[in-house]
Every structure is written in structure tokens, then in C-alpha cells.
């Protein structure tokens, strides 16, 4: 559920229920799903492309300096001079939304990257070592999972100091268990395979087995999960900056812009709905892309 940080869990749960049991039905299902998604995946890809382009070309694309204040022209309506109007200190909303793309995309990518790296390490260690260590690591992951994510983010934010870094680390921590479980499952599945036994019998050291065999096979599900998680990480970053954590002024992220504009809803709703629309469209597009990636890579749904 959007706005709660672990939306990915729920969507995954729902998605997992869509996987049918028998292969025959699988084929029929995929026809259905592919047909339903046929129009959506290109849209998603287009959105992502636009987002990345906007983020990269922000300095060129933004009509105004996002930090340039103009106290004589505050809360201006959208018009020719300012396509999305101005905010409470006269800054151009459109330019801030454009520059905000960088923050949001970066937040999503970095948070998920942290989670993937940390989670994978935990997962590999747990899966490969087994026994007590496996138990300990998995208990740790369960503990993180049962911790209310917002409290975790707030507390970590206070400890690590205000700023984007604190939020990214907090989000990384929150998403780590998902990837840890995933990686561990992959490791266990692969270890059971014969060629690993053979490699071990031949005396190959553990880490090399992990590197050569486990990782390449695990990459697919990780990518699938990661692409879904990025969308939710972006939402989570927006939610946290809505609550006041994260990016420090005068920089803006979409969430902090919505928060700042909240008090002006009656007089100047464009301050809220400009970045709001950008956030929504980006997340929707990323979601479609994530679904498409899963369709393409997940062996279970492959026709």
C-alpha cells in the first residue's frame, strides 16, 4: 500500500497469488497477462526514459534556477511565465519539480542498491554457512521486518542526522530483509544442485563457488525484485520527506514540496499537485516496468 514503506511486500503477496499451479494454466494465464500488459509496458518504459532524461538534463531543461526566490511574485498561478506557478517564496515550481526528479530517482536507486548489497551479503552468508549462522541472520532479518518501518526511519534519521543520507540508509535497512531472503533462497536452491557438489569435491573454495555459480543464477530474481522495489523506495522517500525527514532545504524533493505546499492547498493547490503528479506518474511507470521485467525474467511465468 503506497505511503506505507513496505508496499512492495503487499504487492508481491498479491502478485504471488497470481501464479497458477499447473503449467497448462500457466500458458493461458500468460496470454491473458501479456495481452493486458501489452499496452502498459511501453508506457512504463517511456515514463522511465523521460524521468531519467529529465534527471540528467535538469540544469538545461529547467527554465529557472530552482533556488531563485522572488518574494514579490509568490503563489503565482500557472501561466506563461511559470508553467506550474510559483511557491511561497516565489520559486518556479516546474524547475523545482524537474530538479526534484534527480533526488527522487537517486533516492530510489541508492536505497535499493544498499538493500541489494547488504541483503545479498546476508543472504549468501546465511544460505552458504547454514546452521546457527543461518538461524541468527534470519532472526535478525525477521526482527528488522517486524520493526515498524516508519519508526525505524524516524529514529535512524534522528541518529544519523538530518539529511538525505540518513533516509537512504534507513530505507536500505528496511528493504534489506526482502533481498536477504531472496538471496538465501537462491543460494539454498543452487547449493543443492549437483555441479556445486562437484565443484566442492574438487576443492574449490567457498567464495568462488558463491561468485561463479550462485550469483549469476540469483541475478534474475534480484533484478525483478529490485525493479519493483525502486518504485516503492521512491514513494517511501516522498513519504518520509513529507514528514520532514530527508533532503535539506533549499533543495527539494517531491515529497518535501508536497509537504511545504500542504498549508497552501486552498490558495495554491498547484504547489502540491505539480510534484504530486510527477511522483504518481513516475511511480506508475516504474511499476509497469517492474512488472514487465518480472514477466520477462521470472522462469515461473515464462510460457
Amino acid at each position: 500500500m503506497a505511503g506505507s514503506i513496505r508496499g512492495s511486500d503487499l504487492a508481491e503477496h498479491a502478485a504471488s497469488l497470481e501464479r497458477p499451479a499447473s503449467p497448462l494454466r500457466a500458458r493461458r494465464w500468460n496470454v491473458v497477462r501479456r495481452a493486458a500488459r501489452a499496452r502498459l509496458a511501453p508506457f512504463g518504459a517511456a515514463v522511465m526514459l523521460v524521468a531519467v532524461l529529465v534527471a540528467l538534463t535538469a540544469p538545461l531543461l529547467a527554465p529557472y534556477d530552482p533556488l531563485a526566490q522572488n518574494l514579490g511574485n509568490t503563489l503565482a498561478r500557472p501561466g506563461r511565465a511559470h508553467l506550474l506557478g510559483t511557491d511561497s517564496v516565489g520559486r518556479d515550481v516546474l524547475s523545482r519539480v524537474i530538479w526534484g526528479t534527480r533526488v527522487s530517482l537517486l533516492a530510489g536507486l541508492v536505497a535499493v542498491a544498499i538493500a541489494v548489497i547488504a541483503g545479498s551479503l546476508f543472504g549468501i552468508v546465511a544460505g552458504y554457512c547454514g546452521g546457527r549462522i543461518d538461524g541468527l541472520v534470519m532472526r535478525l532479518m525477521d526482527a528488522v521486518l517486524s520493526f515498524p518501518p516508519l519508526v525505524l526511519a524516524l529514529a535512524l534519521g534522528a541518529v544519523l542526522g538530518a539529511g538525505l543520507v540518513g533516509v537512504l540508509i534507513a530505507l536500505g535497512v528496511v528493504y534489506t530483509p526482502t533481498f536477504a531472503r531472496l538471496m538465501r533462497g537462491q543460494v539454498l536452491a543452487i547449493i543443492a544442485r549437483d555441479f556445486v557438489e562437484a565443484a566442492r569435491a574438487l576443492g574449490a573454495p567457498g567464495w568462488r563457488i558463491a561468485w561463479r555459480h550462485v550469483v549469476p543464477n540469483a541475478i534474475n530474481p534480484i533484478i525483478v525484485q529490485a525493479s519493483l522495489s525502486v518504485a516503492f523506495a521512491i514513494l517511501a522517500e516522498a513519504a518520509l520527506s513529507f514528514l520532514g525527514l530527508g533532503i535539506q532545504p533549499p533543495q527539494a524533493s517531491w515529497g518535501s514540496m508536497i509537504n511545504a505546499g500542504r498549508g497552501y492547498l486552498q490558495q495554491a493547490p498547484w504547489i502540491v499537485f505539480g510534484p504530486g503528479a510527477a511522483l504518481f506518474v513516475t511511480v506508475v511507470g516504474l511499476n509497469f516496468v517492474g512488472d514487465a521485467v518480472r514477466d520477462a525474467l521470472d522462469p515461473r511465468t515464462r510460457g
Binding site: Q69, L71, V89, A158, G161, G244, Q248, P250, A260, G263
Partner: protein, 443 residues
């Protein structure tokens, strides 16, 4: 005692008072007043209260009554306060929380429960009914209130905490609530135009400022502090951020106070002088520092505007947002360079000055760490002297000195606009920030 609209001290529970000498205050207490639980309010009860304020381990009023050495009961309705030192600010303090008397019987019976259940404890026009935490406080009319002139007229009053300002305003506009304690500056214009709502501009006693840390660079250097002060355009801040819901500040004393000196202007922006000060302070090309402020929209806005203003002088300011707990911790530990400080204000100018600028060891509200012998002398003198005219002169001198030494950079004395449903009649705003409903009635 109580305050009138002009912040004059008027009789309340104390009918009259005299000061035979600088270290003694004799109060003649009103007779026939009862606490809400039926017990009498008398000299014994008053003494009990003062002792409780001084000696109770968890007493937050200790600092306010620190100058009182002992309290004598002269007769059933007269008490004598013996002071350790002259304290010209004491009377004004006793119009506030320190002067609010509670029933000794309730205190003794209820102990720490009193924090949550104040039934029968007070003497005012309304008495406590219930407190449902985070939902509401309910009070009802005191039928046996001693002041028969006028109210109380209202049957019951319910206080509801609503954390979101927009929601608060909309609740008023839809009629869900009748009174709103504070209208955000950004909503004032719209609310004033709304015919379903009445807005009263209450000038407050508050001063909003930023404390500068004198104990570490860069602001250990006075010239650099002055450079910052000279780079600020207070008019632009008050107009652009606060939308003129307030006036630029020349110091800690607000215009509502008798001690305010309007001949001292707020520091005017002067970029040329600012740059000269930068050079004088050894940073001709500007310098960088961090400002810590609270994570509230208007604070953030003000910080951003200040950041832009300082940039024009070549000073680079970074903004660090913190929640209240972190802000207070940083302030108390002097772990900041420039930090936001919003003081709600006290009726006597002493409350806006002494504890902030007097040299103090250890943790205190003197976050800047300023220690200036002349300022200390002035502050002490304002407490010793009793003539208001003399004190006013002293506070003027203090204000001028503060503009030089800059323990704080003063920004604004805000106005507190309060909004009412047109049904609410008879409200008299008093600048100390407390809303009194004794003479209020509903049409």
C-alpha cells in the same frame, strides 16, 4: 493577580499589595474565595502554594520564585513574602503560572495524579471536568466564582488539540470549532476576507530570533556576528515570510511592553558595512556556517530567505533541520553555530532578557554563551530598581548593547491572530498568550 489589555497588573486573588521595602511584599488576599473543591482560599493555602513551588522536587516554577526566601502568614487573608534580593519582576511573574493557586487539600489527597486530574483544584471562573489525552480537555462553569461582575456565561468549554493548521482552519470555517488559537500568516488574508469568521490580531510578547554561539568560530568573532546582522533584510523577511503578521524586532522586548523603546530602530540592511565587517573579522571573502532550525514550514521558509539574503553578502549558510528534541539538545549543549529560538514571552521584560543574557555556567537558556560584564550589570540593576521609568531606561541601554554584542539576531515580534466564529462575543485579547473566557458569551 491578573493582567489587563495593556499589560497592567490588576487585582485577582490578591486584592492589594504593598512593598514596605525592596525585599518585602505584603499581599492582602481576597476574602470569601473558595477552591473548586469547596475549601477556602486563604493565607495558609497561599503559603502552601509558594512553598510547593519552591521545594517540590519536580517543580518547574522554582526559577520563577527563586527570589522568594520565605512566606509568612500575617493573618487569615494577609501574607508577607520575604525576598532574598530585590526583584522588580516578581509581581508580573505572579500574574502568570506562578500566581495560580491550587487547593492544598487536592494536592495532598491526589499526589501525582493531580497531573492528569485537576478536579476541584483551582479557583477560576471555570473548573476542570476531564482530560482525555490527545483528544480534549473539558471545563465547566464555576457557579460559585468570586467575581460576580460579568461572567462566566459559558456552560462548558472544550479544548481540542488539532496538530494540522489547515485542518484547524477548516474546522473553524465549517463550524466544528468556535475558536482558533492561532492563524498561520499564510491564511490570515483569506480568513479576514471570510465573513463567517472574525479575526482578532493579538500582538504578542514573543520574540523570534536566532542565537549565535559565542563559544566557537565563526561567531566567537563579534565582527562576523555583526556582518550577519547587517546582511539581513528584516523588512523583507517580515513582509515576505510572515506576511506582515508581526513587526521587525529591534531586540528582545516587544512593542506591547512598557519597556519597548521605539526610538531604537531594528538593524537595517547595509551590505557595504556588512562586507567591511567581514574584512574586520578576518574573512573578507565571506565564510560558511550552518544554521539549525526547527522542521516547521514557516521556519524552513524563513531559513531559505535568510540563506538567500546572506548569499548576497558573500556569506554561505547551510540549513540543518532538526526536530524539537534535537534542537533543544543542541542548544543546551552549545552544539550549534546559529540556532533558531522562539521565545513565547513574559509580561515583565525581565522574562525576555535575564536568563538569556546573564553570564551563566553550565546548562541554561543562555545558549549563546554570552558573558559581558556591562550586560550583566544592567540585568542585575533592572531587578533591583523598582521605578518603571528607571527600568525602562536600563532596558533601552540593554537593547542598544544587545544590538552591538549580538548574542542573538532578532527577527520579528509576531502577532498572534486568533479567529472566532461570529457567535463568540465579548473576547478581550491580552498579549500574554493565554485565552481567557470569563466574559465571553455565545450569540
Amino acid at each position: 493577580m491578573t493582567l489587563d489589555v495593556k499589560l497592567g497588573i490588576k487585582p485577582g486573588l490578591a486584592e492589594s499589595w504593598q512593598q514596605p521595602d525592596a525585599k518585602t511584599v505584603v499581599f492582602k488576599l481576597r476574602r470569601g474565595v473558595k477552591f473548586h473543591d469547596g475549601t477556602d482560599f486563604n493565607a495558609e493555602a497561599a503559603r502552601f502554594n509558594f512553598n510547593r513551588m519552591k521545594t517540590e522536587p519536580k517543580s518547574v516554577r522554582k526559577g520563577e520564585v527563586a527570589s522568594i526566601d520565605s512566606v509568612d502568614v500575617v493573618d487569615a487573608s494577609t501574607i508577607k513574602l520575604n525576598l532574598k534580593r530585590p526583584d522588580a519582576a516578581l509581581l508580573a511573574t505572579l500574574t502568570d503560572r506562578a500566581g495560580m493557586m491550587v487547593s492544598p487539600k487536592v494536592v495532598q489527597e491526589r499526589g501525582s495524579e493531580l497531573e492528569r486530574n485537576a478536579k476541584g483544584a483551582g479557583t477560576g471562573p471555570f473548573e476542570f471536568v476531564e482530560w482525555v489525552k490527545d483528544d480534549h480537555i473539558l471545563i465547566k462553569r464555576n457557579e460559585s466564582y468570586w467575581n460576580k461582575q460579568g461572567g462566566p456565561y459559558l456552560d462548558r468549554i472544550r479544548y481540542r488539540p488539532i496538530p494540522d493548521d489547515t485542518v484547524k482552519l477548516q474546522s473553524l470555517q465549517t463550524g466544528e470549532i468556535d475558536v482558533m488559537d492561532y492563524v498561520q500568516p499564510r491564511d490570515v488574508a483569506a480568513v479576514k476576507a471570510d465573513r463567517n469568521v472574525v479575526v482578532v490580531d493579538v500582538p504578542s510578547l514573543a520574540d523570534f530570533a536566532y542565537q549565535l554561539n559565542h563559544m566557537r568560530p565563526p561567531f566567537a568573532t563579534r565582527a562576523l556576528r555583526q556582518a550577519v546582522a547587517l546582511s539581513l533584510d528584516l523588512d523583507q523577511i517580515v513582509k515576505g515570510v510572515w506576511l506582515n503578521v508581526g513587526v521587525p524586532a529591534n531586540g528582545p522586548i516587544p512593542p506591547t511592553s512598557w519597556a519597548y523603546d521605539k526610538s531604537i530602530p531594528p538593524i537595517k540592511r547595509d551590505l557595504a558595512r556588512a562586507r567591511a565587517k567581514l574584512a574586520e573579522g578576518g574573512q573578507p571573502n565571506g565564510f560558511t556556517f550552518t544554521m539549525t532550525t526547527n522542521n516547521i514550514p514557516i521556519n524552513v521558509q524563513e531559513a531559505e530567505v535568510i540563506q538567500a539574503q546572506l548569499r548576497e553578502a558573500g556569506i554561505t549558510m547551510k540549513i540543518k533541520l532538526a526536530d524539537s528534541a534535537t534542537l533543544i539538545a543542541d542548544g543546551n549543549n552549545k552544539n550549534f553555530e546559529m540556532i533558531s529560538y522562539q521565545w513565547s514571552g513574559r509580561p515583565d521584560p525581565d522574562g525576555n532578557t535575564y536568563q538569556f543574557y546573564k553570564t551563566t555556567q553550565g546548562t541554561s537558556l543562555n545558549w549563546s554563551g554570552i558573558s559581558h560584564p556591562q550586560i550583566d550589570a544592567l540585568l542585575d540593576r533592572t531587578r533591583e530598581v523598582s521605578s518603571q521609568a528607571e527600568r525602562r531606561k536600563l532596558f533601552s541601554d540593554l537593547t542598544k548593547l544587545l544590538q552591538e554584542e549580538l548574542p542573538m539576531v532578532f527577527i520579528i515580534h509576531p502577532i498572534e491572530p486568533k479567529a472566532f466564529s461570529p457567535k463568540v462575543q465579548g473576547y478581550e485579547p491580552i498579549p500574554d498568550g493565554m485565552m481567557r473566557f470569563k466574559d465571553v458569551w455565545l450569540q
